[in-house]
């Protein structure tokens, strides 16, 4: 009985003009707001929005590892012109072609993400605070300048200008030993960078390729060190 009265009450207020206007306007406004809410959430969580931003691990890795790879390609190109040793030439060709292709993938990601190859974040900034304890011997910490965007040449594992010049000036076994020792240092840092990206990147493609790089370079490290030992070890003073 009481409930019927209440319903009658609601029905009776619907007869009231002001209430009807309030209800219709409120309903329309709510529908509009719901639509906006849906669109916003769709844009945010929908597949199209889901690309890494500048400053992400993905973007930092794609920029820095690309430059890191380019130096490995350059070192490999240099040694290929400076020795006839088949074991070293095969390894150098492997590294050269693999890393050139991987650098191209990273370049392509950045273009697809709409970021291009420009920098807004410091070199190696994405590695700061990363746990690289699982890396191979020769632990590096990312160092990022207090101001400015840093230096590609100062990334861990990078050969210095003087080391590159020494490699360019060497030939035969001298060039082989220099190449092997510089590339071993290069790979140690490369493995650490790749491990961090494999663990912390958001894009599954990035994590996948980074994981493959870490495994590939780690096993190449063994070959590099073996070939170097067979040739008398590192060249002193370089």
């Amino acid at each position: 009985m009481h409930r019927r009265h209440e319903r009658d009450g609601v029905l009776s207020v619907l007869a009231d003009r002001t209430t009807r206007v309030v209800l219709v306007a409120g309903g329309a406004l709510s529908a509009g707001l719901l639509l906006v809410l849906g669109v916003l959430l769709g844009l945010h969580w929908g597949p199209a929005r889901d690309v890494p931003a500048a400053g992400s691990v993905d973007a930092g890795f794609a920029l820095d590892m690309q430059a890191h790879h380019r130096q490995a390609v350059e070192m490999s190109s240099l040694v290929l012109d400076r020795t006839d040793d088949e074991a070293v030439r095969t390894l150098a060709r492997d590294i050269q072609l693999t890393q050139q292709q991987q650098a191209g993938q990273m370049y392509g990601w950045l273009e697809q993400w709409g970021l291009g190859q420009g920098r807004t974040e410091p070199v190696m900034g994405w590695m700061v605070g990363a746990d690289v304890a699982g890396g191979v011997a020769g632990h590096h910490t990312a160092e990022v300048p207090a101001d400015g965007l840093g230096s590609v040449a100062a990334m861990p594992g990078m050969a210095s200008d003087a080391q590159m010049a020494a490699l360019a000036a060497a030939d035969g076994e001298g060039a082989e030993r220099l190449y092997l020792q510089l590339m071993a240092t290069h790979h140690v840092a490369g493995v650490e960078m790749a491990q961090v990206a494999a663990a912390e990147a958001s894009d599954p493609q990035v994590r996948h390729l980074a994981g493959a790089m870490a495994r590939g370079q780690r096993s190449e490290l063994t070959v590099l060190r073996d070939l170097l030992a067979e040739r008398g070890g590192p060249v002193e003073g370089v």
């Binding site: 009450g9 207020v13 406004l29 350059e74 920098r119």
Partner: protein
């Protein structure tokens, strides 16, 4: 003396009371309807605001900043890309494109002038060439080198006869500034190092020549 209420008056009073009850109920219901409607609208408005705040697209702003045109950049169209031997007469100083040597300049920092024909080939591969007047103070040269260091697709070199103390060039684009500290230097690099203007994306900036002009 208490008056005995007549049945008629009693009915009238009862009717008035019912009407009043009805009106009170109507008022209550109306307040309820208006209140609930307003509540729903306010709640949705708050939700929209919260979502906008939480998901505000900082990336879009970053990208806009990266892609925003750099003030004062001049562009040049229809540049030849053929390989030629020997000297080329370039229309711009320093050149921003055109015919060039088969061998590209290796990216890096040089303290001597470069051969235009090699440098132009590096621009074709996506390099930005930072040139400065030989009289530029050393600390400004250091600033230019620091601006170039986050990249491995940059050339830095002195250049005789520049139209301004510092000129930044990429393929088909150029920016002249008076000072190395000009705030457009970093955005120019960010936008044009291996930027969209690059005729041969992916081409190297090593393995060419590191020779300077004699």
């Amino acid at each position: 003396m208490a008056q005995q209420p007549s049945p008629r008056r009693e009915r009238a009073a009862r009717a008035a009371e019912l009407r009043e009850q009805q009106q009170r109920r109507d008022r209550r219901q109306r307040r309820l309807v208006v209140g609930v409607t307003a509540g729903v609208v306010v709640a949705l408005a708050v939700a929209v605001t919260v979502v906008i705040t939480l998901t505000r697209d900082d990336r879009a702003a970053e990208q806009a900043a990266l892609a925003a045109p750099v003030d004062g950049v001049r562009t040049f169209e229809d540049l030849a890309r053929d390989h030629v031997a020997g000297e080329v007469d370039y229309a711009q100083t320093p050149p921003v494109g055109g015919e060039h040597d088969a061998v590209w300049q290796d990216c890096g920092v040089y303290d001597r002038p470069l051969v235009d024909e090699h440098a132009v080939h590096a621009l074709e591969h996506g390099a930005v060439w930072i040139t400065y007047d030989p009289s530029l103070p050393a600390e400004q040269v250091d600033e230019l080198v620091a601006a170039a260091e986050p990249y491995d697709y940059t050339l830095v070199s002195p250049y005789e006869g520049l139209p301004s103390p510092v000129v930044l060039s990429a393929w088909g684009v150029q920016l002249a500034v008076d000072d190395a500290a000009d705030e457009r230097v970093a955005p120019f690099l960010s936008q044009y190092v291996q930027g969209e203007q690059t005729p041969e994306p992916g081409a190297p900036c090593t393995g060419g020549t590191s020779a300077t002009a004699s």
